[in-house]
Symmetry: D2
């Protein structure tokens, strides 16, 4: 009997494809700050399911709780939330991997240094982390996690700059790559975004309280109003006296991760100042223009490709249908049967709606193809409902490069599009036709195409990537804490 692990309690598409590294949230000035963070993390659950944590400040001391699992489970013990007292708090969701380091890397990280107590939550990937770390180790520093947060906390702690904001600014200057940091001290909340703006971070307001979140859907759940995107290179410092903003210099080329639009962010979110739903629908429409299809119905691979499929259907005037039902009950440890059933992991998640599919020429819209394995099984599953034809349309270009800015794209050798032609892939997934969206089409779907990072499709990395960064991450700790 083999065990299928679908990450945590299921419900999203994380295991099918790529993983985001994290979601962050912070609030300053709310009497029940930790509870707001809890709700915000819940809304950001799709950005990370491995572990979650909240740090809160009551004005003099910080408290923190972290754990592995989904947000509701990490905080399910009723004794926890009351102990996270105070009017300022930050939180973090971390993604799920196989063989992970568990609690060791759970965030917010929490330290004591000469400035006092600091908690830090991070979304992104500091691409020169390895070099910075090695240099600090040479100087005698010790490291207890593999998080980028630990590196930046070392830098802050070592800084001789006068104010906390100056220290943070000085520390961030050393960092390359993608990061959104949210820091909490006893009396301040500081949020910052890298100068390229790879990952999203937005600002909201709930009464007198200020809120920062990876996506605006986390503002919605607490009833906060969306104010604006925190700018690339901006450091926002919120304290008793109000909020102050400063910019890191020099300004860099903007490089917002286009994959946030394609797949990661929730369609009801605003990121980088733009509605995800709108961009995602345009991807579907561009796809319909570039790769039309003589078909009877359009179906999505639910739920992540639904919006793009709707766009495809609207543009192509082909009827949109619900052709695959998704089971959201998948749990942590699903026991699979003895016999070798290759397609079981797809079948426990999806079931075709035979009445919709039978005898039809079907367009399946998928948002991206990583390894091709799941899609191949899905096509077979749909085939079992006896459609006349199956045409796969992908609302992003072929994925051919790894990401060094916070998305867990596998090595090049595992990316099917990196080594095979589209026709090869079509044969592999056993579709009657397969078309990807072009890079140009993809960029037409967003309002500021020149401000996107498209490196995973084009290889055009906005920053220098060192050899260390390209290698596998150092395996700091093979077994974590339960």
């Amino acid at each position: 009997m083999r065990s299928l692990s679908f990450g945590e309690y299921g419900g999203n598409d994380m295991n099918r494809k790529l993983r985001e590294f994290c979601g962050v949230f912070g609030i300053y000035g709310d009497p029940h700050a930790a509870e707001k963070v809890y709700l915000g993390l819940y809304a950001l659950q799709h950005r990370g399911q491995e572990s979650a944590g909240i740090a809160a400040s009551d004005g003099s001391l910080l408290s923190v709780h972290r754990g592995t699992g989904l947000v509701w489970s990490v905080f399910s013990n009723p004794s926890i939330m009351p102990r996270l007292a105070g009017s300022a708090a930050i939180g973090h969701n971390r993604y799920s991997t196989t063989g992970s380091t568990g609690l060791v890397n759970a965030q917010p990280l929490f330290i004591q240094c000469k400035i006092g107590q600091i908690a830090a939550a991070h979304n992104g990937n500091v691409s020169n982390a390895f070099e910075l770390r090695r240099r600090m180790e040479e100087e005698g520093s010790i490291f207890q996690t593999t998080t980028d947060s630990e590196i930046v906390l070392h830098l802050i702690s070592r800084s001789h700059a006068p104010s906390l904001e100056d220290k943070i600014a000085e520390a961030l200057v050393h960092l390359d790559g993608a990061y959104c940091f949210v820091f909490l001290t006893k009396d301040r909340l500081i949020a910052s975004r890298d100068p390229y703006g790879f990952r999203p971070l937005c600002l909201g307001r709930l009464g007198d309280a200020l809120v920062v979140a990876s996506e605006s859907c986390a503002l919605d759940i607490i009833g906060a109003a969306y104010e604006r995107s925190i700018e690339p290179g901006e450091i926002l410092s919120i304290g008793p006296e109000g909020v102050a903003s400063r910019r890191m210099t020099p300004a860099r080329r903007r490089a917002c991760c286009i994959f946030e639009y394609i797949y990661f962010s929730r369609p009801d979110s605003i990121i980088f100042g733009e509605k995800v739903d709108k961009a995602r629908r345009f991807l579907g429409k561009e796809l319909a223009k570039e790769a039309p299809c003589d078909a009877d119905i359009v179906i999505a691979v639910p739920d992540s490709a639904s919006t793009a499929a709707l766009g495809y259907a609207q543009e192509s005037k082909i009827r949109f249908e619900i052709g695959l039902i998704r089971n959201h009950y998948v749990g942590r440890t699903f026991i699979a049967p003895h016999q070798d059933e290759r397609d079981l992991d797809v079948r426990v998640k999806f079931n075709p709606v035979a009445g919709v599919l039978r005898g039809k020429r079907v367009v399946i819209v998928e948002d991206s193809i990583v390894r091709g394995t799941t899609l191949r099984q899905l096509v077979r599953l749909v085939r079992s409902a006896e459609p006349r034809e199956i045409h796969v349309r992908v609302s992003s270009p072929p994925l051919v490069n790894p990401c060094f800015y916070g998305i867990d794209i596998p090595e090049k050798k595992n990316l099917i599009a990196a080594s095979r032609s589209v026709e090869d892939i079509r044969r592999h997934i056993e579709a009657d036709s397969l078309r990807y969206l072009s890079v140009e089409g993809m960029l037409r779907a967003v309002t500021e195409p020149e401000h996107q990072c498209t490196a995973c499709f084009t290889g055009d990395y906005p920053t220098m990537i060192s050899e260390d960064c390209k290698k596998d991450k150092f395996d700091f700790c093979r077994l974590g804490m339960a």
Copy 2:
């Protein structure tokens, strides 16, 4: 801080509205019978989330495991499945209620009597259970659960009929109301459906093994082929010598629960011999014909109303959109904030897609209205995205009567449509317009309108309902086993 409980790990619509009483599954002749049942129960999880159980026979002895929680969780301990050995097995999902009796009523029930060991799983509601039970108590019987299964097992055990099938037939004659039973003895699996056919039960085949299931989606997940619906009044006996069918007499009016089409069953299932998806789409189309709307977009309350909304959109030629995003991560014990936020339980589940809704005249399609509370909150939530108008269309008639055949419809006084006019309800839910599907329209959506039970809408109960049955169920045991 208050605790919201969304049933088990969430992911379906159970808590928003009505609850089905159960799902059943059985297989005979498969070397890994219990594992097949496990998968089948997983596919039927939407029919019950409170508890789950499997009984298996190795040809001489039965073994059973039951527990509270979702299927994956009840069987997550790896030591359990290997102990459920044998080539025949049955399983059961039980629905979730507040203050429930927990494990005491978990099924399959498992007894020893003069026939030997019998396990039984039941879906439905025996409407004369209370009288039968009281009569048997008078005769000296003892009861350890409040399940209908226990009553029928008493009747079987007392029967002097020669064969097991005869005993079962004799026992079932005493029952009024709705039931699908699946029995397992050391060498037989027996399935039966009440003469009215209230609840669905179908037969499938996987190689040489025979399979019975509440819905065909449970056949799909194990790769079994759908054969047919088990007939109202049919007793199907499967044993080493093959399968035999007999009918209970006399035949009765058929009365298949129309709510299975409206809401309960999965759209990818075949029930009562008909595709759910097809009927549900026709409900939407009939609704569009009866209650058209001058609007810009049609959205569904996801996921249960999606198919009907699609039907409405197709018939009305109004654009279908995804206007509400559903969060599937809700867990067992979601901690809600201090402050009184009435709409929080809706907001943790749904978020409007502002870009889709703003400035639009929106049709929201919902499948049914029970108390009206959730819908009112949903309309408010949608209103926060600033649509121009909100028009609610319900793909079933006003719900005005309780169900005595296996659906947990609340008392009449809690059914908003039982005491208020449609206009009153519209005002209550704060919609710009509200229209229900008519009973006639509903019946036009199914192929055999004369064979449906519509009592919850029409009061036309196919059987006599005693006063005892109308009263609240006897609260046998207020605290169960953990």
Copy 3:
């Protein structure tokens, strides 16, 4: 890696030797009845570690909670105790076995019948249970557990006697063997002991409340005063009007289990009207008279043999020492190392005190020998501390017969004394000498020798034992509920 299971969280001698079947407790007239039961069960934990349960009555309805594990763990969820409301309650501890049926047989059993709700807790073994059950099955009864309680509840429910007490009296007449029953209805608590008086049951008083318990140590923990032993054949009925006692007829020979004195009961308890500590010390003294030893020190196998060892030391004037330290931290799943270490299960529990033992002639007092395996390992362990000689003295006679009255003595073939001579056993356990107490010596240690059951030593069974009873118990259900 192999897993050693020491029953539950350890702390007593249950796994080393014999197992008692159960402990019972009941209280009537206390505003916090269930909490008193909880404490009482905690004091009786040594009588059963597999499962625990409490049933309480608030005067109109009963509630019950049962679970597997130690008492503190079964009731650790803070939501449980408040739901067990009422001024009358009963409780039960069940012993631990390998491959047990788990929750299925957890008590108190709880039924609904024509009398209303009844909960029952049982300590003992009804020796004609199998016949009674078969007969009732023939008459159409169904059984859901293998507990004797279920049988007696069937008998009560079928009785046509006028009052509850009469029904119980009528039911008990059918039973052979050993039993202490405690029943709870909505307004009465009834306790009864079999006419032979095999198992102990005593009565106490706490203010106006009446208390029954297997041992008086459970009265002590709640501060209740010991009143008297409930008599063999007595039925005690406690209700709103007060307490009434009646006797079953005819009176039988008294046969109190002498093993309660030797090993099972706590030394601080009064059972059968006598102090356990006193009897156990006399066993040690008699042993010293019968089997003296030329030695330097006397040590006990802690903790169960400590009192007898003290008696031995006092009588023989040999110095008592603490020569073995017992580790009480053993948990549910202790992981043992790869390498074959036969004596590990003894070594994780005991460690010799080298300074006490080295160079000494040591008497080890043990209370009984079942299989001889553990004692052999213990002797080896003590030998590693380099004593000059090791002399084993056993404060009971050779154990040669199974028990049909509630003690889990293994089959005859597993009793080392049933097939081997004392000298053989001595060689097996590698002691320099081995002596058992004689039956006569054992009986001299108690005040009413003619009222003891000594069947496991002498074969003199007070009741007829049927062939069915002698066979292995029917394996009703090989897999329980988690």
Copy 4:
């Protein structure tokens, strides 16, 4: 209803009185090193019940697992031990406190620095930790725990000394106070003891493997032979080439903690080269000489005072009896009743043996008195058994000073002997007489009286104690990780 927490699953005397800070264990050269550590930690469980952890090295990489709870529970998931591969491993038990920081401070600590990976386990208390830490913070270091281990790892990492041993030696020079450290790198295990030798650490051998442990009972459980005590100021380095020892200079006065003999260590252990059982018995004998009593029996407060009581009985020729039974089943969350029962926490743990005590003049031997609360309740409990007189004898002098060397003695104001006369205390505990052992008598019980630390009795602290150290520890983190 109030919750009593008795630390972990009970079984020792930790909660009644003082708490040791920790236990450490290490092994080098065993194919199943982590399993040996697991057993060793199990034997050392009495030295810490809050959390446990093991770090192992397979020669190139370290792995670690830590968790809260007892050893068996932290490692109960069967997937853990196989992942702790390698032939060298160290482990740690941490003590239990109320409101503790949980997992944050669980050990072994595990870091990456320029030397590579290092794991560290610590027993003791570095008395200048606060100053060292503040100084390092000033220099820019960050701290994630409040363990002394983290401080020493910083020092090691910053050292420019050539070899690992040199770095450790250089680091340890900065430390004041009490410590036993065990370090693990990929290919070495290093153990060291502070120059005063406050806490015990011994060396053993199992085949070719070398073992270090806080007490020798941890050698016994794995069958290792005791070699010797690691010397004060010794640094023992074990690697592939063998073992090397070096001394820190200058040598200091020896100051072995005398409380290890009085209470903490297991009686079956050898510590500081001496048998605990022997010293503890002498304490009882000295007590009998200094504070004789005209009494009938001597009883111990089990289990920690049993050996001293035996010594008292042997010296005084008064009969030793078991007068108090201890219940070892206390669990993590014992629910106590509503009504105010001050003595309940004593009554759930102890029960007097009435037959032993009634009418007798009783000497109760206790090893130490901290607050006096528990003893007062115990005397009352014993009084309920109606002895004629109760005489308390304490096998250590009055406890009047806090400890800064690793024992959790409460503040002076909470030490009853710091502010009250012996006669006052006698009245408080309601004994007929009370006598303590004198400092001189205590020192006569050990072989090297001049090498003991007696500061908690005499105020003679072997090291300078700074004001910072005297203040409460900095509350780094009020809420840990679950």
